[in-house]
Amino acid sequence: MSDIVLDVKNLRVEFPTRKGVLTAVNDISLQIRRGEILGMVGESGAGKSMTGMAILGLLEPPGRIAAGSIHLSGDRIDDLDDRAMQPVRGQRIGAIFQDPLTSLNPLFRVGDQLVETICLHTNLTKTQARERAKDLMREVGIPAVEERIDSYPHQFSGGMRQRIVIALALCAEPELIVADEPTTALDVSIQAQITALLKRLCRERGTAVMLVTHDMGVIAETADRVAVMYAGRLVEVGTVDEIVRRPKHPYTTGLMGSIPSLRKDVEELQMIPGSMPRLNDIPDGCAFNPRCTQAGARCRRDVPSIGAGPTGVACWLAQEGACA
């Protein structure tokens, strides 16, 4: 089991507010192996990003991990304080954020941001770090590195900036990369390049990736396994083939049905009626039951469990064939 890089067990993230405690992430367990790319999908507010932030130890207060554990290659990291977590971030877990336009500090040259990160995590001198920064920039596909290393972020296009962000995430050869919507803010033509780049770099290095996105296309292209989230819970986990071709959970089925396809000649896109419940208004039983066409009495009473295996589905219908 030594190749399990990330092991999240029963993670629960809560936001105490004046009106009561909101549970943004509820009882999530997942594992990512070395070199594996796990796609996390779900609608906005399903808790995907929140799970990523919890792993990075960057939940905005008052958000906090209320239960569960996070292990990184066997070391428990969820109970570390900020000071102890700081060498883990960047060094053992790299991060890529959604918007490359705002991820880089506008007032520092990209080279300086790379050198800063490299120096923080390695024993290299400034000059060596600069050489390494150039290597990384070449590796992520930035042309004319010698000139561009002293450019400021605003002098790069969005795609180029996201390449820099990827280089920053790879600075210290981390074991895990948390990529939070890495392509959402980019042009479609650039998205594919960035996805392919990320995939190639992680395969070469055996880096585990948690790819948070709501873009099923990106997932289908990149991920090995997929975890589907709904209202703070995992509803289905499986290989990308299973999820795309044979989704078991009605929500996953709906999600797949709502992807536009150029090949299939479908008159109208299916859509899931209604919207995801707010965090303070999650129904009893399965959170999806009000929108589910097949929901039965049990779905409104008991919360289905997804189990602990590498694949699974949290649905009474799929598990037991009946939900009455």
């Binding site: 883990v88 971030r89 500090n105 007032l107 990160t117 923080l120 795609g159 962000v165």
Partner: protein, 330 residues
């Protein structure tokens, strides 16, 4: 960058011409300069002759042009009151005011910026609350009250620091500085603190507001995510992004400080330009007042221009030439 500098300088020159017009109009039309200069026995012919000699019969435009070209050479005429060259008077007084303002500005930045960062980053801490409370006191108390309280505490009760004057000064060329002598430095402490009280709180509140904004930015979170220690993120990455408005404020406020130093100067009997102006007002000494107006606005305009140029230096995005040179490809 050169085009940018030229544009800024041209703007500044235009503003100065407008101010000069104002100063000239005041000088020319508020009271008759001839009446001020001659004694009661002067005949009408004497007056006419003086009027001709001073060029007061020339056209408005000619007179204005002459005023501007004189002013540009630092010639503001003769003070009515002590019959001295106005520029000489100002030259004597300016160093005192400038040093006072300089020290007050340094205090406001050195105290205000860290206080602002602390109150923004450690919002709930006791220190932050105390600083916040102190800043309310600082904003509310007029500077002359602060000055009087400081005199009461440190000069009258404790006897540590002088309550008035500039102490000994040393001359470096025409510049007389109090910074190089112990008594000069001691004399500077209380007025500078009193002048800076308001500034400190202003800078602190501005930095706090900006920091709160910046700390929410993605690049701050991303800097944390790539393992930059919190302290470095706050004091380097976030603070630098907050400095733009602080530079503006400080630049603008130096002008204000020079202008409003006259209150502090009066309280501490500080022999600066403010005192000179107060005396000029009392005696309707128009050349001095006009010169004061010109010089203070010159400082304002020069500072604004410097602030704009500093912007371009701090924020690479405002250097229009680099944006073009960089090119874009994706």
């Amino acid at each position: 960058m050169i085009a940018f500098l030229l544009k800024r300088t041209a703007n500044a020159a235009f503003v100065m011409l407008a101010v000069a017009l104002l100063a000239f109009v005041i000088f020319r039309f508020f009271g008759d300069p001839v009446e001020m200069m001659v004694n009661e026995q002067a005949t009408q012919a004497d007056r006419m002759e003086l009027r001709e000699r001073l060029g007061l019969n020339d056209s408005f435009v000619t007179q204005y042009t002459r005023f501007v070209s004189n002013a540009a050479q630092g010639n503001f005429g003769i003070s009515y009151r002590n019959q001295q060259d106005v520029m000489v008077l100002i030259k004597e007084r300016f160093p005192a005011t400038f040093e006072l303002v300089l020290v007050a500005t340094v205090i406001s930045l050195v105290v205000g910026i860290p206080a602002g960062v602390i109150t923004a980053v450690y919002r709930e801490s006791r220190l932050a609350n105390m600083l916040q409370l102190g800043s309310i006191v600082g904003v509310s108390l007029p500077s002359f009250v602060v000055g009087i309280l400081l005199i009461l505490a440190f000069s009258v009760s404790l006897g540590w620091l002088p309550a008035f004057g500039r102490g000994e000064t040393m001359d470096i060329g025409w510049w007389s500085t109090g910074l190089l002598t112990p008594s000069g430095r001691a004399a500077l402490v209380l007025p500078a603190i009193s002048l800076s009280t308001f500034q400190v709180t202003l800078v602190m509140r501005l930095v706090r507001a900006e920091m709160l904004e910046t700390l929410r930015a993605d690049y701050v979170k991303f800097a944390r995510a790539r393992g930059v220690p919190a302290r470095r993120v706050h004091w380097r990455h976030a603070l630098r992004n907050c400095l733009m408005p602080v530079i503006t404020l400080t630049g603008m406020q130096i002008g204000n400080l020079i202008a409003f130093a006259l209150v502090t100067e009066t309280v501490f009997q500080w022999p600066g330009m403010g005192m000179l102006f107060i005396q000029a007002v009392t005696f309707v000494d128009i050349p001095v007042m006009a010169a004061y107006l010109m010089i203070v606005s010159f400082i304002f305009v020069a500072l604004n221009t410097c602030v704009d140029i500093t912007y371009a230096w701090v924020d690479p995005r405002l250097r229009d030439d680099t944006a073009r040179a960089g090119g874009r490809n994706g």
